[in-house]
Each structure stands twice: as C-alpha cells, then as structure tokens.
C-alpha cells in the first residue's frame, strides 16, 4: 500500500514517463498526415482541451459535494481544480492560435463557434476568481463559488457540441458520431498524450492543494500562537 505522502512523487514520476513517451511517439511514431507536420500540434492541443474540461468537471463535482454533504476541504478542492482548468484553458487558446496562424493565416477566427464557445467557457471560469475574491472568506463565499462552478459545467457539453451545430466546419473534426477519425498509431499516440496531460494536471492539482492546505494550517497555527 502506497502512503499518501509517497503518492505525489510516484505521480510525478509517472507524468515524467508519460511525457517522455508522448513526445517520442508524436515525433517518431505517429505518421505525418495530409495536414502536414503542423498536425503534430493536435497531439498536445486536444488533450489539453480535454484536460481543461476534466478540471472544470472535477471542480464542479467537488463544488456539488461541498453543497450536498458539506465535506470539509471540498470547496478548496473545487477552487484548485478550477484554477488548473483555467491554466489549461490558456494553453488550449494559445496552442490553438498558433495552429490557426499557420493553417488559416489568422491567430483567431470569430466565425468558428467552437473557438468562441471555448473562449466563453474560459472567461466564465476566469470570472469565478473575481466572484470568489470579491467576497469575505466564509460559508457565503464558499456557497456562492460552488453554485457558480456548477453552473459553468453546463457550458462544457455546449462547447463540445458546438462543432456539430456549426454551419461552417472550418475547425477540423476528429471526433465524430462515427468515432475518432484517426489511424491506429495516431489514436494510440493521442491516448498516450491524453494520459500524460491528465497525469500532469493531477500532479499539479495535488501540489497546489498541498500548498493551500499547508498555508491554511500555518495560518491557524499563527492565530493559536498570537
């Protein structure tokens, strides 16, 4: 049985291994398709987007647990997960823009529903921090932040389905109702990249959470000694 203290270094080691494998597979295993070498951005861009969705989803779930069971620490877990989601959201927007600049000749295209809806989702969660820090710490702040986090999760399926609702398919469609439109080696590489990105998010989540918990404990210790 691995103790809780030993879990994080193991997770970090797993992340490192997965990243090494993912980078090697992207450049030496996955074939270059008709989109050209530029398609290699897909292997990081899409897993980062999925990871951002997962972080927002986890944040909403912890928020729900906070409201439902009043589990101590669930609010902090929700906050940290949303913070991670926003960081991965920035990466989605930046890597997507780099791809678009090469493929479309523009950093951003407002006519693409998927891009705009992801930006809306990102801005919605960015505003979460404004709401949270505009209120005094306490149950009121925790409850309002939790409700906001749960509302935001509704935007995830909307963002996901936006590409199917769009009239102009300028954004490439890889995951359709007929399954992923990828070759075997491409799909395998994509899955390794996704595992690496999810593992990185889990690692950063636990590091940040440990820091926040330690911060809170030190604060209460300081109050006890004052």
């Amino acid at each position: 049985m691995v103790s809780r203290a030993n879990r994080l270094p193991l997770l970090a080691l797993l992340t490192l291994g997965l990243f090494a494998a993912a980078i090697a597979m992207v450049f030496y295993y996955a074939p270059v398709d008709q989109d050209g070498f530029n398609q290699k951005i897909f292997y990081f861009h899409v897993p980062i987007a999925f990871t951002a969705y997962a972080c927002f989803g986890w944040g909403a779930w912890r928020a729900f647990v906070h409201l439902w069971r009043r589990t101590p620490g669930a609010d902090l877990e929700s906050y940290v997960a949303i913070h991670q989601g926003v960081i991965f959201g920035v990466l989605v927007l930046v890597t997507g823009s780099i791809w678009a600049r090469y493929r479309w000749g523009h950093w951003w295209v407002w006519s693409s529903n998927q891009l705009v809806l992801f930006l809306v989702l990102f801005l919605f969660y960015a505003a979460y921090f404004m709401l949270r820090y505009s209120l005094e710490p306490g149950p009121r702040r925790e409850n309002l932040a939790a409700v906001y986090a749960i509302f935001g999760v509704v935007l995830i399926p909307v963002s996901w389905l936006a590409i199917h609702l769009a009239q102009d398919f300028i954004h490439p469609v890889v995951f359709t109702e007929h399954g992923p439109q990828l070759g075997g080696s491409q799909l395998f590489t994509f899955l390794v990249c996704l595992a690496a990105m999810l593992s990185l998010a889990a690692c950063l989540y636990h590091v940040e959470l440990a820091g926040k918990r330690l911060d809170a404990r030190l604060k209460s210790l300081r109050e006890l000694l004052a």
């Binding site: 780099i98 090469y102 950063l204 820091g211 330690l214 911060d215």
Partner: protein, 60 residues
C-alpha cells in the same frame, strides 16, 4: 527549419514554459511557507523561554 516546424516548436515551447512558470510560482510559495514555519518556530521558542520554570512539588 520549415515554417510548420517552427509553429510546432512554438506550440510545444509554450506548454513547456507555462508548466515551468507554474513550478516557479510553486517554488516561490514553498519558500514563503518555509519562512513562515521558521518564524512560527522562533515564536514558539520565545514563548517557551518566557514561561516561568516549573518546580516539582510533592503531592499528598
């Protein structure tokens, strides 16, 4: 290096730099927490030194 290779490198570098930045922020935070622990340790030591010495007294 072709144009496509440059864009791919840029995208991967952005991911690397953001993660590195995050680690840097976390390292700063850990350094701050270490300073706070040292301060609290000092405070606890001072408290202990200020406490009046207790003498053993026979009971009963």
């Amino acid at each position: 290096m072709t144009s496509a290779e440059k864009y791919v490198t840029a995208a991967y570098l952005v991911v690397f730099v953001v993660v590195l930045l995050y680690v840097l922020i976390m390292a700063t935070k850990v350094a701050r927490l270490e300073r706070e622990v040292a301060e609290l340790e000092e405070l606890a030591r001072k408290r202990r030194a200020e406490e009046p010495t207790r003498k053993a007294v026979a009971v009963g």
